[in-house]
Symmetry: C2
């Protein structure tokens, strides 16, 4: 089990930070952690509305404070009314506070124009928890064969880690780098045909917008994936935590649920789970651990087992649930918090869009590097043509070349990115993932440093 | 997998609540949920200091508000300084914020008079998460035999649920009801000898103070258990989440770590994990999901794997970590919050002690019922001598007699308790668990109602 986003490179980055503090001389002054989608750590400012509601539910004595707007107070009061004993310190039901689940269902309904049932919504402490709890439901062998789950390559390492933990087969399908990291149905066919020799494919994971690849799938691509999943009787895991992070002109987020529902029968009866988080989007509240799963058309026995299984963990954090409520039920036009909320939200998303463009443009301006446009999410995943000498040097050290590159970059510049090997990449290709999260000025100088390093590296090993 | 504390009885209780709201006539006006240790839900008031710190870290704009004492502000500032980007919305390290881990280590050191290393402390979202993450490390078969874990009967159902999930063998040992639910070494010997025929015993779980049984183990008993565990090379899981909840005169909480350390070698080198939670004690912040594990003498490879495994879940909620910090580092004499904090804390614990006595005394005043003193924790686990006719009636319904009794109690009085079958009990004995958490007046009337019901029930089936 490996978890690259927090792997050896990140551990080394923290060591270097300590060395810098202790006065060790380095060719740089600070470590820039571009390895993880941790918005607030990189200077993104919290949304005031969310934090005000949190303060009030945590300490209701503030309810009479005039500096809190009336809509914040009414949201906080509603949440406290939904808590047993009127306290966020009491356990909620295991799938979350009913009121918040209803708000989430309304949010989904508004997003998709498709009915959503609150009893299909399960709140969780971040999407990772939700994904694992549902993946676990597929753990049973079928006809003596291990269950398999199709996941994209490159993928977010939560999936490979969870499948390893649950002893399930990982069926990698390559995303099509030449086609903006779209899903290629021929490649899905290839992957599943091969996998059927050794396992029983049960589910397919799609990350849209993509992590680490930053693509936003077209509606047509989603339709094709749904048809494929239907043919193969696969449970669809739609990891849609970046649904608010869509930047590129012409790109639009379509939820798998919306597309599948609008395709009508037999597709609209397929089993699907969609995941959302408080950690990404415009809010970036990673540390508060909020999220939800919406599970539709699930076999009733399995659903009952799922609810039983989550009950052993008691409940997701009620303050994380509170954040989810703020996202599902934000200030409305006419309410006192609305203008500020709208302003803060658009400022974050506008700046992220600019940074998305800046990152891809810079990488494409570097010789031997190419990068798909960052249509959405928070990452770029450029490809590098590494010289043979660098590849040999890496191999002599027992390292994958992308890992060797990433360590060199870190030691020489303080920039911490994640090597492509941590997500998976086509054999013979070399990538890395960087977030687009450093604030604009810092991002600009980071990209310049990276460019200079890259040129030097290429010369050294040419 | 069953999870009695949130099982069918509790689901029925919620249905009855809805029926009451809809105006259905019942022989009672409200459902009393004495099934779960959910303090705030039963009217316990949060500790002001904790909630003030929470409000400040969530919404630092309040930092200039004169209604917050200076020690609250300095705690909040320290925590924010420990957060990346100064925001609780950023991910912490997977084992938690270093500052808070250091405070926890100091808290343990002060409690035990034994050194504690912050790198042994792992913060988690409630003790359940910590327990499961460490239990998972023992999952590997040994010499072709499944690993087994000794757990008390009666036990807290988290353990049986987790062992079932991990496909590990549950080795039940009976607590000695005649000896205040102490652990009987002969019984441990019997249980492990039998278990060795089918599995490879790896660990022993001890819940002290006991849940559902309310005992506080003597130091002598703890020493004997440690010797037994040493002889059998067992990893010790010390579930010590009720360490603040000790009521009975003469009872005192000794941590397993303290006793084992003071026993010296070879015992002081044994592998042990101890668990603590924000959900119990005097704070009762169940919904905020805070807790810690302290893991000592763990095999370094296993420890490395443990840290890797928790990293895939990113981090425990930073606001839950904040609560843990408040508990580990409470107001000190001379600080502005001290008097109020001390007052609130003692009031909760004093009232719980009175209720512990009231509950056990009442049960012992009922013919055919007997109850050990509630020395600690938050529960009583009385034994009932059920008449043969009731036992037969239950069996004719396919129910365990304790479950039949609990359903009858619920339908006739609205009181929701958990049948002994949910925790395990010696064959032929019948128990239930009730919390001592309803506020004093309500608890008194609940006990009277329960007594009346019991007398009627006994007459009906005599």
């Amino acid at each position: 089990m490996e978890y690259a986003v927090r792997g050896p490179l990140v551990i080394r980055a923290s060591e270097i930070e300590k060395e810098l503090q202790e006065g060790v001389k380095k060719p740089f002054k600070e470590v820039i952690k571009a390895n993880i989608g941790d918005c607030h750590a990189m200077g993104q400012v919290p949304i005031t509305f969310i934090r005000q509601v949190l303060a009030l539910v945590a300490y209701p004595e503030l309810m009479d404070d005039p500096r809190f707007p009336s809509d914040v107070k009414s949201r906080a009061r509603d949440i406290l009314d939904g808590c047993k004993g009127g306290s966020v310190g009491s356990y909620s039901d295991s799938p979350g506070i009913e009121l918040i689940r209803r708000h989430v269902a309304q949010y989904i309904e508004k997003r998709d124009g498709i009915h959503s049932n609150f009893s299909d919504v399960i709140l969780c402490a971040g999407a990772s928890e939700g994904i694992k709890s549902i993946l676990k439901m597929l753990i049973k062998d079928i006809d003596g064969k291990r269950p398999g789950v199709m996941i994209p390559i490159p993928q977010y390492p939560l999936y490979s880690a969870a499948l390893a933990e649950f002893n399930m087969e990982q069926i990698g399908y390559y995303l099509n780098e030449e086609q903006h990291w779209a899903l290629d149905i021929c490649e899905l066919e290839r992957a599943i045909t091969e996998a059927k020799k050794i396992c029983s494919p049960r589910a397919i994971v799609i990350i849209n917008p993509g992590n680490p690849t930053g693509q936003v799938l077209t509606r047509k691509n989603i339709e094709d994936i749904i048809k494929f999943a239907h043919k193969e009787k696969l449970f669809i895991f739609a990891d849609e935590v970046y649904q608010d992070n869509v930047y590129a002109e012409g790109s639009k987020f379509y939820s798998f649920k919306k597309v599948l529902s609008e395709m009508g029968l037999p597709y609209s009866a397929m089993e699907l789970a969609s995941f959302m988080s408080c950690s990404k989007g415009y809010m970036g509240e990673c540390g508060l651990r909020g999220g939800y799963s919406e599970v539709i058309n699930m076999d009733p026995d399995v659903k009952a087992m799922l609810f039983k299984s989550i009950s052993a963990m008691l409940c997701p954090t009620v303050l994380g649930q509170t954040v989810m409520d703020c996202i599902a039920n934000p200030p409305q036009p006419g309410e006192p918090s609305y203008e500020k909320y709208k302003e803060e939200k658009s400022a974050v998303l506008k700046s992220l869009a600019e940074r998305a463009k800046m990152v891809a443009d810079t990488f494409n301006s570097i010789e031997g590097m190419s990068c798909n446009p960052v249509q959405g999410a928070m990452y770029a995943f450029p490809q590098m043509k590494l010289p043979q000498k660098a590849i040999e040097k890496a191999k002599s050290l027992g390292q994958c070349p992308s890992v060797f590159y990433a360590f060199q970059l870190l030691e020489n510049t303080g920039i911490c990115i994640v090597p492509g090997a941590g997500f998976g990449q086509k054999p013979g290709t070399y990538h890395f993932r960087t977030t687009i999260l450093p604030q604009p000025a810092k991002l600009k100088s980071m990209l310049q440093t990276l460019k200079d390093f890259h040129i030097k590296f290429m010369q050294e090993y040419k």
